[in-house]
């Protein structure tokens, strides 16, 4: 078998093991942190005044809350691992069903923003390097400053005021495109800035000078040498940006009144719906781990120096 492929697979296998270990850590952490918050579901209901002491005791027995923590953890983690996230204590519906309703909307928003960010965040700096005296350099600089100085939630609120209230172009609640563009532009800015600077660095490297000495054209040098080398550095940050897109999506949903994960999280926290909060924390944690695992794998596909095992 090709030694390169073998080494690559071995190294990716290690990454997956590492990700699984972190995921397990998040599940354990979430369980015990929730248990450390004083009171449980039964207390919340008891305080609401509808339960007698004996009802509370039998309810704890039903829910298994009188068992030692470790036993509870064993049952709970078995449940989580089989994909069952438990029941919402507020809506009395399986959390999986609730997530199935809200997740598509959030994923759609995040994915659109990511797609906009990747397309423009990579193409704009590349064009700016290919045509150093063109308008693209200015665009990269403008969008960079825009994304640094303008928080997405404030632009979101302003857009609602301008486009929905004043101009009446979009509905004030439930518009999808505007928040996607706002998040996408924000992502474009941070990606373009990093990539442009990395490309400038790579352009002054010795192997680019060597490529010029080979008689290669400028566009080939930029596309075959500068861009891949700069991207191999920048990709590492895309995983982290994904986490940012997700949190950004959560605020955008609240601002634009979209029925997604963000709105659900807000309601669950306000309503002390701990099983739901717990499930969302685990879901987000796993999503970030997955995103980082993906970027790590892509980096290894791109940069052979990282394939050690």
């Amino acid at each position: 078998m090709n030694p390169h492929l073998l080494r690559l697979l071995g190294s990716i296998g290690l990454d997956i093991l590492r990700s699984l270990a972190i995921a397990l850590g998040i599940i354990i952490f979430t369980f015990f942190v929730i248990r450390m918050i004083p009171g449980d579901v039964v207390d919340v209901r008891g305080v609401e005044g509808s339960l007698t002491y004996s009802q509370q005791t039998s309810m704890r027995e039903d829910l298994g809350l009188n068992q030692p923590w470790l036993t509870q953890f064993g049952e709970w983690s078995g449940m989580i691992l089989s994909g069952d996230l438990g029941e919402s204590s507020r809506y009395n519906r399986p959390i999986v069903d609730l997530l199935a309703i809200v997740l598509p909307s959030t994923l759609m928003l995040g994915a659109t923003a990511l797609a906009i960010g990747l397309i423009f965040g990579i193409s704009l700096p590349t064009l700016a390097c290919l045509f150093p005296r063109s308008i693209f350099v200015g665009i990269v600089e403008f969008i960079t400053i825009w994304s640094i100085t303008m928080p997405t939630f404030s632009i979101g609120i302003m857009s609602v005021i301008v486009f929905a209230v004043w101009l009446d172009w979009i509905p004030a609640i439930g518009n999808f495109l505007v928040p996607a563009i706002i998040l996408g532009v924000d992502t474009t800015g941070s990606l373009a800035k990093m990539l442009y600077e990395d490309m400038k660095d790579v352009e002054s490297s010795e192997y680019v000078r060597a490529a010029r000495a080979k008689g290669l054209s400028r566009s080939r040098i930029i596309l075959r040498h500068v861009l891949p080398n700069a991207l191999s550095v920048t990709i590492a940050l895309i995983g982290m940006m994904l986490a940012g897109i997700f949190t950004g999506a959560l605020t955008m949903e609240v601002v634009f009144g979209l029925p997604g994960l963000g709105t659900m999280t807000l309601q669950a926290i306000q309503g002390r719906d701990y099983p739901v909060v717990q499930a969302i924390i685990i879901w987000l944690g796993l999503a970030v781990i997955f995103a980082n695992l993906m970027t790590e794998i892509i980096r290894k596909l791109v940069d052979p120096r990282l394939r050690t095992s």
């Binding site: 090709n2 030694p3 390169h4 290690l14 352009e203 002054s204 490297s205 010795e206 192997y207 680019v208 000078r209 060597a210 490529a211 010029r212 000495a213 080979k214 008689g215 290669l216 054209s217 075959r224 040498h225 891949p228 080398n229 191999s232 791109v302 940069d303 052979p304 120096r305 050690t308 095992s309």
Partner: protein, 554 residues
Amino acid sequence: MTQAPLLAVSDLRVTITANAGTARVVDGVSFSIAEGRTLALVGESGSGKSMTAMSLLALTPAGVQIETMGTAMFGGRDLLTLSEAELRQVRGRQIAVVFQDPAAALDPLMTVFKQIRESLPPGQRGDGARRRVRELLVEVGLDSIPHIERRYPHELSGGQQQRVAIASALAGNPSLLIADEPTTALDMTVQAQILELLSSLRKARRMAMLLITHDLGVVAAHADDVVVLRKGVTVEAGPTASVIAKPRDAYTQMLLDSRPRLDAVANSGGKPDQAAPLLSIEDLTVSYPGHNAFARRVTAVDGVSLSLPRGSALGIVGESGSGKSTIAKAIVGLTPIEGGSISFDGKRLVNPGSMPAAMRARLQYIFQDSYGALNPRMTVEKAIGEPFAITGMPHRQRRDAIVALLNEVGLSDTLLGRLPRELSGGQRQRVNIARALALSPEVLICDEIVSALDVSIQAQVIKLLKELQRSRSLSLLFISHDLGVIAEICDRVMVMRAGKVLEEGPVRTVFDTPTQPYTRGLLAAAEALEGVGSHPRPSAGVLAIQPAEALLTH
């Protein structure tokens, strides 16, 4: 042989503009190269030798604007007047370049195959390209390495990387090859091999070569003609044999004289006191963690013992990866030791990292990178004064002590207010030496301290070290890959390879009658590089240079 030269440069003037300002770096240089000949441009740093060659193809470093005057006729055209698009046709196809540091000059994300294929003339695709790349790899002697086409640069040794770069330069069948210090970044045995390879390729392909180097030994062995440059001006030019045998210019003479000689006899003044070694190491073992948590640890130093008597100078030679610097770092506690013991002045250092300050002062370390070893924001006065500040010497006395140290290392006290970047390489290394001497140490550990310096400066620093060793009766642990430098300074030498000591003894004994084949290979390589000027030694004359890099990597 009277034929029209391949390249005729006349009255070349180059002005560069960078952030720092504008400077004329080449001022009226003329030379010509005939087909199939080698011309060497020789000079020290700042002589304009690289700029002369690179300005021909407008291959200046990034961020540097150049302006050229004069003419450079090549194939009936003046290179200096060509547009970027026209130059692109010349680059790689008619004039190719091999750069100094192959690790930096190869794209880290590209396989060997792609790097070379990229240099083929346009139109070669598929199987044709594959065959052509294979032929080139055979030509540079890399064909025996398994899966060489699929390898990435970081999977190759320095010598192999330079061979890939050479193959890639040859891909366009150039009639002129510019080799810009092609061996400076490589180990000594590899240097000789690469130079041999370049010479034989040049002969086989009837290609001309413009060889840029700081080393007159390399020139003597490999160039037909030589141009000696100094500060952008031609000092001397002519056929190599006559320039080297009878230099007309004092500067050329000085360059020749300052080269460290293998047959030098170090003359350390003080009588080494063999009875009680000042520093001794027993069975030292140091290892580094492997690539990841599950990989085996890499053993850098494997059971090394040495002793350094008071007033003596011990040289440690070896190629990169031999563990010579690791020993030095372990002694001062910069790297944790795994086994064995280190004793200083009779006391065993259980953990050199937590050495008491009073003992630390007696043991000082000087680094190879003179610039990196100085804080860029500290003036010379502050840098040298820092050890005094740490020991709490009052401000009043500090200034005098600093000036005294500066004078001792041969620097003027007008440099007190300068920052490291305002000093030359030689001045910076002297400042480092002065700082190391501030606390009157008994042992100086010198880790390749002259290898980044120009030969003339190197000779001065070596002279200074010898004087200091005598006047202060210092003990030196001198690490170098350069056998000539070791011969100049040390009375004993230890040859290391792959973490182990191969042989140890008085310098003249080891160099004149080496017992190990590896040592003989090192000496033969050093002599091949030294070229003229040294008496041929029978022991080395009969030995072919071993393909050491093949042994090292597998």
